[in-house]
């Protein structure tokens, strides 16, 4: 199965036939998994649907010149480091927006994507920008935390993103995505008898939610 898939990605002409033939053999074995076969079939169809080249022209001669070159380069770079092309400054902003927009947690993450777009445009208008490391940390955090509610999202004067889940007066939890391994955690948690417990600290991003929940914060 793996060999068939690799061949397909390299643009072989009979990959789909190989795939089906291999799958047929698998069907006779006890290990046959329809889901696995379906997964590979879809991967192959997806690979076939892509041109493998960024050439957007339609004329036959230049198309052959440029697409043939793209195929050659794919083979040459088989075992080399992943070298990415030059990119423009706004590329990272778009990547974050797209990652959120296409996430499985669609309604919340699309709202977050829209908010990031608005913040980016507001920042540009004031000759500021979102700190790339903060945006990257912010995006990874929300993609890994589908259960959290939609927070208020703002940009600090330093260019870092700050999120706040506000539940009432003196009742909130906030995370500031510094872009460093430790993110800032600020919370005010009601403790009864009109008492409020303030918390200020820094925690690793991976554990910041569990730490906050342990002191009574809510991310609903």
């Amino acid at each position: 199965m793996e060999a068939a898939l690799t061949y397909a990605c390299n643009g072989g002409v009979s990959e789909l036939d190989m795939m089906f033939n291999t799958a047929s053999l698998d069907r006779t074995s006890e290990n046959y998994s329809y889901q696995r076969w379906e997964h590979h079939r879809r991967n192959i169809l997806s690979a076939r649907a892509h041109s493998g080249s960024g050439f957007t022209g339609t004329m036959t001669l230049p198309r052959r010149l440029f697409e043939a070159t793209a195929r050659d380069l794919q083979r040459i770079y088989w075992a080399s480091p992943n070298i990415i092309p030059e990119f423009t400054d706004s590329q990272q902003i778009f990547d974050a927006i797209q990652a959120l927009y296409l996430s499985s947690n669609t309604p919340r993450d699309r709202q977050i994507a829209d908010r990031i777009t608005a913040l980016h445009r507001d920042a540009l208008a004031e000759d500021e920008h979102i700190l790339p490391a903060s945006l990257s940390q912010f995006t990874d955090f929300f993609l890994a935390q589908p259960g959290l509610g939609l927070p208020k999202i703002t940009l600090t004067p330093d260019g870092t993103l700050r999120t706040r889940w506000i539940h009432g007066p003196r009742n909130f939890v906030a995370i500031e995505f510094t872009g460093e391994p430790l993110a800032k955690l600020v919370a005010e948690i009601p403790r009864g008898d009109s008492l409020t417990a303030p918390h200020f600290g820094s925690e690793p991003v991976e554990s910041i939610v569990s730490v906050a929940c342990a002191i009574g914060a809510s991310f609903a």
Binding site: S46, G57, M59, T88, H120
Partner: protein
């Protein structure tokens, strides 16, 4: 190095016989997962009078796309790219889930088409994309904004002429390749070129100059592909911002074309008007 012919971009040189075969204006946007095969038919119906033919093509993957959407949820077959065109009209529209493109093509000699230049093609692009945008809003309820990437691509094909008859004379046409000739030796002759140089014009605009030499498969005649591709995105990722971006891209490609090609060829083969 700059070419005096290019001069001020406000007063552009236009050629009688430019080598251009195709101009492509491309705009990549957020993928629209709700855009399904059935919508393609509805869209084609809107433009079918002008573009009566439709073909499926492999999806163009944007090289800067960190997370291409291969397949939308609930889709049995991945949505390909579609061409809408006519055999008698040089304009062609391309649509895929995350992109809209408009091509001007030099048609075959039976229906010759004079290059109308950027100013006309970009007007066509904006007219068609405004209609496409209205279609997406009406039938899918989505916007094309924010956008991921704009591209302006000039595809030129150069065939043998008075100053370029074989691979050894490629530098007569494209002086920047001279350094490749300089490292020839008695037992190592220059036989072809396949190279791309990238230039940064400003933080939101990059420019690729690609040269590919080869032969026509039908006549085995020598042919050189010269592609100038401007790419990037307006800083605010907006569709409105793309208008100024394309104009800047046009300025940058215009200057690079003049700097990359030999003045003698510009004057004697392509001939300024």
């Amino acid at each position: 190095m700059t070419n005096a012919l290019a001069g001020n971009t406000k007063e552009r040189i236009k050629f009688e016989n430019p080598p251009i075969t195709e101009l492509v204006v491309s705009l990549f946007h957020l993928p629209i997962p709700e855009f399904k095969a059935q919508h393609i038919g509805i869209y084609w119906d809107r433009i079918r009078e002008k573009y009566p033919l439709c073909e499926q093509q492999g999806v163009v993957v944007n090289p800067s796309d960190a997370q291409p959407l291969m397949e939308a949820p609930g889709e049995v077959f991945p949505l390909p790219r579609f061409w809408f065109f006519s055999d008698h009209h040089p304009t062609l529209i391309q649509v895929q889930r995350n992109a809209f493109m408009l091509n001007w093509r030099r048609l075959s000699s039976s229906t010759p088409s004079e290059y109308p230049h950027y100013e006309t093609v970009i007007k066509d692009f904006w007219r068609e994309i405004e209609d496409y945008k209205a279609f997406i809003q009406e039938f899918i309820g989505r916007e094309l904004d924010p956008i991921q990437r704009c591209e302006l691509t000039y595809v030129n094909v150069i065939t043998p002429n008075e100053v370029f008859a074989n691979q050894g004379q490629l530098m007569n046409m494209l002086p920047p390749v001279t350094s490749f000739y300089d490292i020839q030796t008695g037992d190592r002759q220059f036989a072809g070129l396949n190279a791309t140089a990238t230039y940064r014009v400003n933080p939101s605009l990059l420019l690729d100059l690609a040269i590919r030499s080869g032969r026509r498969s039908d006549t085995m005649e020598l042919a050189v592909g010269l592609e100038l591709k401007a790419y990037g995105v307006p800083s605010d990722l907006s569709l409105d911002g793309a208008r100024a971006w394309y104009d800047s891209a046009h300025d940058a490609t215009y200057k690079l074309f003049f700097d990359a090609t030999a003045k003698q060829v510009q004057e004697t083969i392509w001939k300024p008007r």
